[in-house]
Assembly symmetry: C2
Homo-oligomer: 222 residues x 2
């Protein structure tokens, strides 16, 4: 499409407004007026509002997948040498590190997380489809590694637990501002994102390694 200043001004403004208010609640006029560009610029450079939304995501997810693939490459290479399986903690740790790393440059982890949360919760069917098609492969690679790291878990159980912890992370980090306000007000304790990740670690690990649920419906367990 195009490269220069207008495009990034639009993207910078759009991602903030989207994160603050959602997609449907943010009009193109909101974006263009705040970005000080002409209204038609969005349709000119991106084609449509849908395409703009996808472009906002691509600017985060493209570098993320690149780095995450690289990090997994390195992790696999290291463990291929000493012949050991990659432990679950290391996988989770790697993912967390990559997630923290990518938006660090623009100091916008909060925006990134909020966008991810919106992608799941807003109806926007096209978005989920886009993300699935464009970035599904890296997620599949990760889950396959998790599978090898947790051979004791039935496949279905692991599937659900991964989504359980995904929910924890996205919910917490995407609602971070509101929660942080409450926490600071109630406990007079400032929480940084790194702080939260530190708190999340043992919880997520314990969640993944929780005992298996009792088998369904039958009154009699062994």
């Amino acid at each position: 499409m195009a490269q220069p200043d207008t495009v990034t001004r639009i993207l910078d403004t759009a991602e903030v407004l989207f994160a603050e208010r959602g997609f449907a609640e943010t009009s193109l006029r909101n974006i263009t007026s705040k970005a000080k560009v002409n209204l038609a610029a969005v349709n000119y450079h991106f084609g449509s509002k849908k395409a703009l939304i996808q472009a906002v995501f691509a600017r985060y997810l493209d570098p993320f997948t690149t780095r995450f693939h690289a990090a997994l490459d390195e992790l696999e290479a290291r463990h291929r040498q000493d012949g050991s399986e990659i432990p679950l903690e290391e996988l989770l740790e790697t993912m967390a590190r990559t997630v923290l790393e990518v938006p660090a440059e623009r100091n916008s982890l909060k925006v990134f997380m909020r966008l991810l949360g919106l992608a799941y919760s807003q109806a926007q069917g096209h978005l989920r489809r886009y993300i699935q098609e464009e970035y599904g492969s890296v997620f599949m690679r990760f889950t396959e590694l998790v599978r090898r790291a947790t051979p004791e878990l039935p496949d279905a159980e692991r599937f659900w637990r991964l989504h359980f912890v995904l929910g924890t992370v996205i919910f917490t980090l995407s609602g971070l501002d509101a929660l942080r306000d409450i926490a600071e007000q109630d406990y007079h304790e400032h929480v940084s994102v790194r702080d939260l990740v530190r708190r999340l670690r043992p919880v997520v690990v314990s969640a993944m390694q929780a005992p298996l649920p009792e088998p369904p419906a039958q009154q009699e367990a062994s």
Copy 2:
């Protein structure tokens, strides 16, 4: 406001559409045409779209808070007799049971959960404020009981962990349809809501009882 058939037809239709597509993405014309009532009926009976949204929530949350208070009363009374503290599992169990119980009549747990998820994720400031003001007290009562059940947890840690598991539950149950599709397709296994709650139980308990995170910088031991 009013009582008869039109009002409930609007509410029934609105909650389904809201759950499917979000608030901003659902127009009053969508609702009224599908409910086969006149467009003006919404503003006549509820006053505004905002008020309709709140009414949809109230229809779930009012009975929920009533029953939850009652269930907690009973739980407290039972444990006051034998002098023991209420264990965490029982608290979580009670909440889960109440959540499952309330919408069971209309077979709309999915809708209920999806609405809760939207309430958190959609910007809709008025909604969060409304829910907080209207139903904050029952949540505070619950957290106080959780506090007594987990005296080993620092207050801030407990606060965060409660929101961690809240995220798990809301995220999972509100995105249930999509996740269920994937799960059935990949593992040929049908998952009911009760099934999911069964899977959630050990995960949530383990998450709450996870070891404390290490203070800001140190190595880890299992």
